[in-house]
Amino acid sequence: METLAPKIIFWVFTGLMLGSALVVVLGTNLVRAAFALLATFFSVAAFYAMLGADFLAGVQILVYVGGILTLFLFGVMLTNRIYGLELETATFQLGSGALVSLTVFAVLVTVVLTTPWSQTALVEEGPTTPAIGRLLMTEYVLPFEIASVLLLVALLGAAMLVRRRIDL
């Protein structure tokens, strides 16, 4: 039980993540791909939780599911004539794409498995929120400020681009 439960959860979410990612990249229906992304994001959040990053898991769901996924769905629905459900998404260069990505996968897996990662510091994890907050306010205060500039500019730019009039 003690060792089985996390394993089951891990494999369930791995299956869910990779399966839904496969739907995203192999599926032919665009909207289904977007909804499959929901499962991917969700299982990634579960991974975070398993890795003790509870705050990140919450943020992952909040931002990815609540924000980015909704954005994608809007993007899909607004950039297609959605009179029917036939939102086909075509593919091309399947063979070469598969070759390249399989090669990359092989290389990465080899590297990942052969490299001796220095797993020395497996500490007890508690709540991570205060630690993250403290880091953001002390050591990483400059990146934090840059991120705010980035958010401002992204907001401004996106709003500018979707506005119809050009002289505003």
């Binding site: 977007a34 943020v59 990942v112 907001l155």
Partner: protein, 101 residues
């Protein structure tokens, strides 16, 4: 206890899937989705390392910034896609080929 390598392999698989979608998908929005998969793969790596290797929250802070950046990037990207859709009436990448040559 799941070893670190398991997470890394899953992340690699997710990364490769994202790459595959990127190379094979025609629809711009779908390509952006694939890119999100790549970001997520990197984030899994970061958090796994932050737990198993460093043992502090540094990697998590990085992942947090990555999430922020991914959100900004998708917002801007979708805005561009919408803007292009108004002109082209379609968002398939091979259609956006006026700049060839």
């Amino acid at each position: 206890m799941i070893p670190l390598e398991y997470y890394l392999v899953v992340a690699s698989a997710l990364f490769s899937l994202g790459l595959f979608g990127l190379l094979t998908k025609k629809n711009a929005v779908n390509v952006l989705m694939s890119i999100e998969l790549m970001f997520n793969a990197a984030n899994i790596n970061l958090i796994a390392f932050s737990r198993f290797v460093t043992g502090d929250t540094e990697g998590q802070v990085f992942a947090l910034f990555v999430i922020v950046i991914a959100a900004c990037e998708s917002a801007v990207a979708l805005a561009i896609v919408m803007s292009l859709y108004r002109i082209l009436k379609g968002v398939d990448l091979p259609e956006a080929s006026a700049l060839k040559g």
